[in-house]
Amino acid sequence: MSEKVYNIDDLQNINVEGEKYIILQIGPSHPGSGHMRLKVWLDGDIIVKVDPDIGFVHRTSEWLSERREWIKAVPIVERIMLPDTVHANLAYVLTVEKLLGIEPPPRAQYLRSLVAEINRITSHLYGIGIFGIFLGSSTVYMWAFGDREPFIDLMEMLTGARITTSYIIPGGVRWDLPNGFKERAETVLQYMERRLKDYEDIWVKNPVVQARTINVGTLKKEDAIRLGVVGPNLRASGVYYDTRKHHPYAAYSNLDFEVPTMKNGDSYDRLLIRVEEIKQSIKLIRQILKDIPEGKIIADQIYNQLNPVMKKNYEEKKRVMFPAFMIHMRPPAGEASAKVEAGRGEIFFYIKSTGDKYPYRFRWVTPSFRNLPYFTHVTVGHRLADLPTIYGSIDYFPPEADR
């Protein structure tokens, strides 16, 4: 199997004219493509060139957000990254908080980390499931999607919504921990730990899976750095970089966790690292639920804006209702950027404010978009049957890449 990663210059020099190559249009309506099109040039069974054509689910989130009040961008960014809603929400709110100069109280920070870690597990399970169906294992697909449910239920218990939670708002979070959450979370975590053993038996240690993934789609460390890939895929190539460690946000600077890295950077490592990260997230959730401090869940600046009814509601139900400040928010002029480690990798936000009702420039980059070089660079030289392997192993999510 070819392990060569092609240079951009090499790729340009490949002559794909003539009748020697079969051109396959994989997608946009193809069971193995998702909402994108991969134009593949094949020499026999060997991939010569791949041209990813994305944008089929481009939802103009930047354009929409630049024409709305600041708070209204939260649901927009959430709906772009459906398996990863909390992280999109969190990244946007962090950026706005940097502009506003608000620091949320510690309890809110911990709650943010908590819901982010729950979301990371669901996102990784989603990725493992899609990888399963791409290799033909419907069992892992069903298991992973089924095992997402307990965690989604946890999110529902905490935030009131299953997927699009809109839980995190500038200055804090919207709900406090409900009664009985800790016990419920412990049950779910123990269940997941049991299930991880089953996953190892039927999927990770399956000889067919190992034959299909080991040494397939290898991206070496230096190439991963050069191509700027993100998230678990980057760490599978051996780069020690995690936004939670290097740009600490929420409560991560107080929490003790490891960043697993792998050596080879092939598809199998990218599978293993997701399993490892689920284990780390389980550890983190336990730690958060043990260490979580008492206190307010909303910054004082926001709390003072609440009217008496809202304050009463806050004291009784531990629920933050939106003060009018939220819709009339006008962050001072300036620019801010924030990074958040989502399930698939790093979300980057860059927002420019002119002190107006709307953001002047709203820019965000999602992890899947930055993982695009995998298609153009890593697939070349592999067989056609390896394309779904690589696609599934990088956990690419087209709607997220298109934004």
Partner: protein, 169 residues
């Protein structure tokens, strides 16, 4: 290594926002861009996070956000390289039906793909959204939008959505 000193050696136009840990290098001459980028890369900033534009009434600011995976000290730092170019005057044309078509020509800046290959898709996106032609980009095609959006540059502030006049054929 003191990052501030190193960066100010490279360029005098360094804006530092201490509170938000933002570093921004402003480039005034397009010819300097690639040299500055190369020296930034030699510092250890090894990949591009995002390439984007900010549209102002008379100019466009192109921003490369770069960051580092390989250097321990730089991992926590976001560096923006910003270059501002003047927008050419829009050309107004009246067609046979009396509609005024505003033709907004694109601007040209040097491409940094030769320095950071990771920016290849981001630069394509900035090209289609803002009409920034990256000179030296090896593969400057439309990425997300259909080709017939050419000239509309949707993320510029003067973009107006025009309903298609003829729906079929």
């Amino acid at each position: 290594m003191n990052i501030k000193d190193e960066l100010s050696k490279i360029s005098t136009n360094l804006v530092i926002d201490e509170k938000r840990a933002n570093y921004k290098i402003i480039i005034d001459e397009p010819s300097k861009l690639i040299d500055v980028a190369n020296s930034i890369k030699n510092l250890g900033f090894d990949h591009v996070v995002s390439v984007t534009g900010v549209d102002y009434p008379d100019k466009i600011e192109v921003i490369w956000h770069v960051s580092s995976y390989s250097s321990e000290e730089l991992k926590g730092i976001d560096l923006a390289i910003s270059m501002t170019v003047k927008k050419p005057e829009p050309l107004k044309q009246t067609d046979a039906q009396g509609n005024i078509n505003v033709n907004r020509p694109p601007v040209t800046v040097p491409s940094l793909v030769s320095v950071w290959p990771s920016g290849i898709f981001s630069e394509r996106e900035a090209f289609e959204m803002f009409g920034i032609i990256f000179d030296g980009h090896p593969d400057l095609r439309y990425l997300m939008l259909p080709e017939d959006f050419y000239g509309t540059w949707p993320l510029r502030k003067d973009f107006t959505y025009q309903k298609p006049k003829v729906f079929i054929e």
